[in-house]
């Protein structure tokens, strides 16, 4: 039962049109939440009750921010304020993916569209909320499948390259061994230093040749088949955060999302960068499971030609010797897991022309991961 309808009946204001509209709206499968200019919930549809786990009576009259996880919760009133002051539309009539929070503290991604109506001398905002958890799951699975598929076809290609590469590497290696064998023999027979030095120099050249072959292989592996588009990094970060926090009980984690309004558009493979972010955020949440203070900081900073994205936690932190090789494959601080997540993150960031690093957190303990993306895309 909607509070709105109650209010109409009680005030005697309700006319047929309103009542009919109301009953029509009740049939909409999306949750509908109406708020006033102060952000106070005016009505809460039945679908909203099912979606959020609150009864309408529990939420009507309270601030709508209670339906949002921490970073949004704190900022929502400023969004409304800014809109009322400037008329600048961030969400009204646009619709975007944001995280929402259920009564039990779990978060889930929703697509929110907001409409605005003039009503009895004031303004009301009507939010239509569509739970996209399932869609996200499907999308994620699809992404996984696409990645796997791309990987499989690359593995196949790598297999085909294998024999060529073996040959290309075998030649310089054979030469290195023969030059060094010659150098040994020359030393045995007390030949001149110059002759020995010449052998060693030639072996070095061949080692460099082998290195170049490996470099070529690396470029091949790093190339990938990715599609890059100009994306708003803030939006990508925001969506990835919503995605990463799906199902993660809030566990008393305070999330601070600080998005630099000056952050530019960047040419990226959105899915890949989101994979990096989701990985970093999940790691951060995991790192704080034993901590007394649990603060997750996610921020973007526009810099000179680059944008820096950082994810910080107040977990136990990482010792410097582990930090030094953290991005290598198979180095993990977790009991389970292969520890290839961060090495993949690094490959992705580097293939975008950026870099990823880790630093101890600003305060006591904790860790900050940050990566850069060049604003004008990777250099060819």
């Amino acid at each position: 039962m909607s509070a709105r309808q109650d209010q109409f009946s009680a005030s005697g204001d309700a006319d047929d049109t309103t009542a009919r509209l109301q009953s029509v709206l009740e049939t909409v499968p999306d949750a509908m939440v109406v708020i006033d200019e102060r952000g106070l919930i005016d009505s809460f549809s039945r679908a909203a009750e099912r979606m959020f786990g609150y009864a309408a009576t529990e939420v009507v009259g309270r601030n709508v921010s209670m339906l949002m996880p921490a970073p949004y919760r704190d900022e929502h009133h400023r969004y409304i304020e800014r809109y009322l002051r400037t008329g600048e539309r961030r969400i009204i009539g646009v619709g975007r993916v944001v995280p929402a929070q259920r009564k039990d503290g779990t978060t889930f991604p929703v697509e929110l569209s907001v409409g605005e109506v003039q009503f009895r001398g004031g303004r009301l905002f009507i939010g239509f909320i569509h739970d996209i958890t399932q869609r996200r799951r499907t999308e994620r699975r699809l992404d996984e499948l696409m990645t796997e598929l791309a990987h499989v076809s690359r593995v196949n290609e790598i297999g085909q390259m294998g024999s060529t590469l073996a040959h290309e590497l075998n030649q310089p290696l054979t030469a290195i061994l023969a030059y060094l064998g010659a150098a040994q023999q020359l030393l045995e027979s007390n030949a001149g230093r110059d002759k020995v030095r010449s052998m060693i120099e030639r072996a070095v050249n061949q080692a460099e040749r082998a290195g170049a072959v490996i470099q070529k292989l690396r470029e091949f592996l790093g190339k990938g088949r990715t599609v890059r588009h100009l994306e708003s990094i803030n939006k990508v970060v925001e969506e990835a955060s919503a995605l990463a926090l799906i199902g993660a009980k809030q566990q008393g984690i305070r999330t601070r999302l600080e998005l630099d309004p000056a952050a530019p558009m960047v040419a990226i493979d959105r899915v890949q960068i989101q994979q990096v972010l989701v990985n970093l955020i999940r790691n951060a949440v995991e790192a704080m499971s034993e901590s007394a203070t649990r603060e997750l900081g996610i921020r973007t900073d526009a810099g000179d030609g680059v944008v820096t994205i950082s994810v910080s936690d107040t977990g136990a932190g990482i010792s410097s010797d582990v930090a030094a090789k953290l991005f290598e494959p198979f180095v993990s601080t977790k009991a389970q897991g292969m520890g290839i997540g961060l090495s993949i993150c690094r490959s992705i960031v580097q293939s975008h022309g950026g870099d990823i690093q880790v630093r101890p957190g600003a305060s006591d303990g904790g860790t900050t991961f940050f990566f850069t993306l060049p604003v004008d895309g990777p250099k060819p």
Binding site: Q171, L177, A178, R202
Partner: protein
């Protein structure tokens, strides 16, 4: 006594390094970038040892072996290859090679093979 070593490999660095290795051991070295180059140079009374790559442009190492067999050559041949399967080595021996090394190899391995090949033919 300078014994002759014939090297056939299409890779310049491999030829140069093997030449250096064998010269350091006191051999007289002749190298060729292709099988047909070597066959042009080949004479039935050739002595020494042939170190022959399998993977060659134009005619490959096995064809060189067959061509040599057809002339009744008694020049011992050691086959070099990057291929890792056992079939290649068996094939090389069947085709008349006296020894087989898989690239990359340590120098002593090849030297030992060459020395025993030379002794065997001298007896």
């Amino acid at each position: 006594m300078d014994q002759d070593i014939y090297i056939v490999d299409d890779d310049e660095a491999v030829r140069d390094s093997l030449r250096a290795l064998f010269e350091a051991h006191g051999f007289a070295v002749h190298d060729f970038a292709s099988g047909s180059d070597f066959l042009k140079h080949h004479a039935p009374d050739m002595h020494g040892c042939l170190v022959l790559d399998v993977n060659l442009p134009g005619i490959d190492g096995f064809e060189v072996l067959r061509a040599l067999a057809a002339t009744g050559s008694r020049l011992p041949v050691i086959i070099m290859t990057a291929r890792t399967d056992g079939r290649t080595s068996a094939h090389a021996i069947e085709a008349g090679a006296i020894g087989f090394v898989q690239k990359p190899f340590v120098s002593s391995q090849l030297m030992d093979l060459v020395r025993s090949a030379l002794q065997a033919t001298q007896c």
